[in-house]
């Protein structure tokens, strides 16, 4: 009994010390550098109130801009949210602080498949933010065949010819084409690259555009298929109910953005608190509800909007999940070949 009492006292003392120390270290500021229109204001208010921190958000519009500014130094940011394919650069260039999110209290909530990504083994630097995929958006009124294949844009069925859009993203499109011809992204196999090139060049006359923004054109009936992101696919379906989203069985592309703490951060403790904060189920759901993409946190579904929790574009059906892969940045030599093919395609 006595022993029990002692240990309770010890525990409560330790807990109060921990709370006190957290309270002290957290009062202050946090500067978040994130993609535009991507940070839930509700989540920020909750964080500010919980830890007595003034949060400032600044937008960037591309991974390259963010990387350039942080590399130049003196940026004044504590946190950034880079994409997975850029993460090895951030880590290898020594831009990040090894904050060990894997040892934080909320890490237990991270879904198993997201605890050990290739681009940050063991998650020593990154806490998951949101993720999604690139797949086939197809109007099933126009084409009722199998949409879970990259043939939709590489060897289009008759019904879709002249009504296809392809997002002008070199890495994603080259990756999916290489999967389709039975190879791997960034392969040095010249024969496979040539097959990919021939397929793309032959398919291009059957496309109508290579651009962004698809919702309007699907609604107007000018577009019947597109290689595009899952979040936009869902929004397109809300306007045009006959639109469905296909996961190519040959292989489709996954993306994920993650929260990192910058090496020259001024508010390291608050930044760490934020990393832990976004791995809480209720908070992760706030991120999803605002940006309309999936998070990587177990138990967040009950807090998510119904349309998100049930959307087949957001929740990848089990039979397709194994076909999704992350694409890394290719070596400079391969990138040169990519660019040559891409330039030919854009002509």
């Amino acid at each position: 009994m006595r022993q029990f009492k002692n240990s309770t006292i010890a525990c409560s003392v330790a807990a109060s010390m921990l709370l006190a120390s957290q309270g002290v270290s957290a009062a202050g500021e946090l500067n978040i550098y994130n993609w535009g229109d991507y940070t839930s204001p509700e989540l920020i208010t909750k964080f500010e109130q919980a830890y007595d921190v003034k949060v400032t958000i600044t937008d960037y519009d591309s991974n390259d801009t963010a990387l350039a500014k942080v590399k130049a130094g003196g940026h004044g940011f504590d946190i950034a949210v880079p994409s997975a394919n850029y993460m090895p650069i951030w880590i290898n260039d020594g831009l990040l602080l090894k904050t060990r999110p894997d040892q934080m209290s909320n890490f237990k909530n991270v879904m198993d498949e997201w605890t050990n990504p290739d681009w940050d083994p063991g998650r020593h630097y990154t806490a998951p933010w949101l993720w999604g995929s690139v797949g086939m958006v197809v109007n099933t009124d126009v084409y009722s065949g199998d949409i879970n294949t990259s043939a939709i844009f590489l060897e289009p069925p008759e019904e879709l010819v002249g009504k296809i859009n392809v997002a002008p993203e070199m890495g994603d499109i080259m990756g999916m084409t290489l999967y389709y011809v039975g190879s791997e992204p960034c392969t040095s196999d010249k024969a496979a690259l040539r097959r990919a090139r021939d397929l793309l060049v032959a398919a291009k006359p059957k496309w109508s555009s290579m651009g962004y923004s698809i919702k309007e054109q699907f609604a107007a009936g000018d577009m019947a298929a597109s290689v595009y992101w899952n979040g936009d696919a869902m929004r397109t379906r809300m306007e045009t109910p006959s639109v469905a989203y296909g996961y190519p069985k040959e292989g489709f592309v996954l993306w994920m953005d993650s929260v990192v703490v910058l090496k020259d951060a001024k508010n390291v403790e608050n930044a760490k608190l934020f990393q832990n904060f976004v791995m809480d189920p209720e908070n992760a759901a706030m991120l999803s509800n605002f940006a309309m993409y999936a998070n990587a946190i177990d138990g967040s579904a009950p807090f998510m909007l119904d349309i998100l929790a049930t959307a087949p574009e957001v929740q990848i059906p089990a039979e397709h999940i194994g076909n999704g892969r992350f694409i890394e940045m290719c070596s400079p030599e391969i990138n040169e070949l990519y660019t040559a093919i891409w330039t030919e395609l854009m002509k």
């Binding site: 550098y33 535009g36 229109d37 600044t58 350039a68 130049a72 003196g74 940026h75 004044g76 923004s213």
Partner: protein, 280 residues
Amino acid sequence: MAIKLFSKDPQGNLSERFNVEYVPSFPTIAIVCMLLLYAPMAPLIFYSFNDSTLLSVWHGFSWQWYVAAWNNSQVQEVTLRSLTVAFQAALFSTILATMAALGTTRVKKYKGQSVIYAVINQPLMVPEVVTAVALLILFAAIKTATGYQGSAYLVLAHTAFCIPFAYLPIRARLEGMNLSLESAAEDLYASPWRVFRRVTFPLLLPGIMAGAMLAFVISLDDVVITEFVKTPGKDTLPTYMLGQLRRELTPEINAISSALFAVSVILVGLMFLISNKKQR
């Protein structure tokens, strides 16, 4: 201004002399230019009244996107910042440009004057992204040394690239102004400052206003340099809009753009009325 083909001679008779003010097909060219400049904005403004989340499929009339933009605290914040930065940049760059214009026109010709023109107009020649990267590196060093992260960087950068835009109309005005009035004032023992204050400046004012307005609009418009130079929490309206592009665009962007367009039309219209009144 009415364009007359024939002018009346002092006796009131129609003379068939050729009017030198008339340039054939000028009205046609003017109309084509106006169309090319303003027609692309018509659909933007039209769809800002769209009662739908779609950018280019018409559903019906509504003010909802103007209301949404007005109530969006982030839009308010970045718009206010854009206007503040543009005002300061216009003010500073116009002062500098006026001094530069005086120093390159109201002095004896000297060696290297053309080099100075080139240096002043450098931001017009160098691609914007080069200036942006240069400023990024320079400011990074200053930020690391001083720790200062305020909006002075934006004002400085904007002032720098606005100078030639303010300089050109001011210099053009100075070159068109007859020196005899200034010489007369000097002959009457006016001090150089008094000459400037009472003669040069009032005559130059329309040029200065034109330069300041141009600088204001150029600063308001800038994306590339701002994106690289901005410090935490210092988004301007254009960089905010750029951030929206990656995700879903709604007619709210149309509403913001249309409102901005209306503001600049009103501004330019007012300036035109004021300067027109003064000339009479």
